[in-house]
């Protein structure tokens, strides 16, 4: 069974032009897809549909055989968006504990502990998230997205707000998850340096361009 399946997916906002047109896609375990495109091309929309946060106007999306819109499908998904999804009043540890409990994940998971070390977050666990800069919040959010060893990782322009240490840790974490059988979709604006970093660090990455709503593989 494919980890992710798009069946004739179209997406339209408020009766305007279609932002996604007849997307058909199948990704298996260990597949890594990089979706590039200009601003407003629909990359984030595609990712949100994968994550079940948006419903397609037509067609359906299955994650591990389950409709992506179902709450049960979210158990397989780890998603990193532009804005960290953290509670500023809670500490780093409290945020992670909260999401771990909600997802039924373990915080003492070996891989998670290793990623925590790579992201150099140990010293910040007791700090309130509102005391952290945006970059550090993003690092915490990476950890949140990786809770529960998700089978499908969705990362929206992950390189855009992390410093080199954060990028290195994230890519290493991605490789670890892919080696364990996870599938990943990343988006990036059409920036040559981002694409070369990702192609250099991630194993066997497929690249597709989203242009006028159509996904074209390179």
């Amino acid at each position: 069974m494919p980890v992710l399946r798009f069946e004739n997916v179209w997406k339209q906002y408020y009766g305007l032009n279609y932002i996604l047109k007849d997307i058909n896609l199948e990704l298996d375990s260990r597949d890594v897809l990089l979706v590039v495109g200009a601003n407003g091309s629909g990359k984030t929309t595609l990712l949100k549909i994968c994550g079940g946060l948006l419903a397609p106007s037509r067609g359906r999306v299955l994650v591990n055989g389950v409709n992506a819109r179902e709450p049960t499908a979210k158990r397989y998904i780890g998603m990193l968006l532009h804005e960290p999804l953290l509670y500023p009043e809670l500490t780093v540890l409290e945020n992670l504990k909260l999401y771990a409990e909600l997802k039924g994940a373990r915080l003492d998971d070996d891989i998670l502990v290793e990623i925590l070390e790579m992201l150099q977050l140990k010293a910040y666990m007791g700090k309130s998230v509102r005391e952290l800069s945006y970059g550090w919040r993003k690092r915490v959010d990476v950890l949140r997205a990786l809770l529960g060893r998700p089978k499908l990782l969705l990362l929206d322009e992950p390189l855009s707000s992390l410093d080199p240490v954060g990028v290195k840790a994230l890519l290493k974490a991605l490789n670890m998850h892919i080696d364990m059988g996870s599938t990943a979709i990343l988006t990036s604006p059409y920036r040559v340096e981002d694409i070369s970093i990702l192609k250099g660090e991630l194993r066997e990455i497929m690249v597709a361009k989203l242009d006028e709503g159509v996904l074209k593989f390179e």
Partner: protein
């Protein structure tokens, strides 16, 4: 079911810890309720304890104070989660809309009832018109608090995807809560505590209906 209850408790813990750490907001809302209740108390205290007019003014005022509290809590509820993006985080953490809605409803109920008791305490301290039927009036107010809490949670959930929420939330609360608020005033004035049971049942029914609707509203 056990897992659902556990998730509701986890979400409740989160909400109360956040409110405790946002002490200024909570204290301001409480102060507002106290000031209104105290003002009402002073005003109705001009009338003798048995005066019908004093009782009507006092009961109308405390019911409106409850509505204000419901508006405050609605803003602390779904609206804040949506503005921060954490509503998405909760969806991604497999929290179902109905579980989330019930946790917010319980959160709203606890805050509304606590604030109601405190405001009512201020009202009877400063005023005399509602001194006599303290227990009865409080029971009726607590019963109406359940319905208003459900209205507050629902209004908050509805306004998540809308921009005019600062105007929409109080309007929705007053529109949906008006029949109940009128009944509450009448019951307090008539001191008919037995019918408080009906208020409770209508609150429970409204809560159940809105919980069922939450799947569509929060999607």
């Amino acid at each position: 079911m056990n897992n659902t209850i556990k998730i509701i408790l986890v979400l409740l813990w989160k909400d109360f810890v956040i409110e405790a750490r946002r002490a200024l907001e909570l204290v301001t809302a409480l102060l507002f309720s106290l000031l209104i209740a105290s003002f009402l108390g002073f005003s109705t205290g001009k009338f003798s304890p048995d005066t019908f007019t004093g009782l009507v003014i006092g009961s109308t005022g405390i019911v409106l104070t409850q509505a204000f509290i419901a508006v405050f809590v609605a803003i602390m509820s779904f609206v804040r989660e949506a503005d921060r993006g954490t509503l998405i985080g909760l969806k991604l953490a497999s929290v179902t809309p109905i579980t989330l809605y019930v946790s917010k409803l319980v959160f709203t109920l606890i805050l509304v009832e606590i604030f109601t008791v405190i405001a009512y305490g201020a009202l009877i301290y400063f005023g005399e018109s509602m001194l006599e039927p303290i227990r009865g009036s409080l029971i009726i107010l607590l019963a109406s608090g359940l319905y208003l809490s459900a209205v507050s949670a629902f209004a908050s959930a509805l306004s998540v995807h809308l921009e005019a929420r600062l105007a929409l939330i109080p309007t929705l609360i007053l529109a949906l809560g008006a029949p109940l608020m009128q009944s509450t005033v009448v019951l307090i004035v008539m001191q008919n505590v037995k019918l408080a049971g009906l208020l409770t049942i209508s609150g429970l029914l409204f809560a159940m209906i809105t919980a069922w609707l939450s799947e569509y509203v929060l999607e």
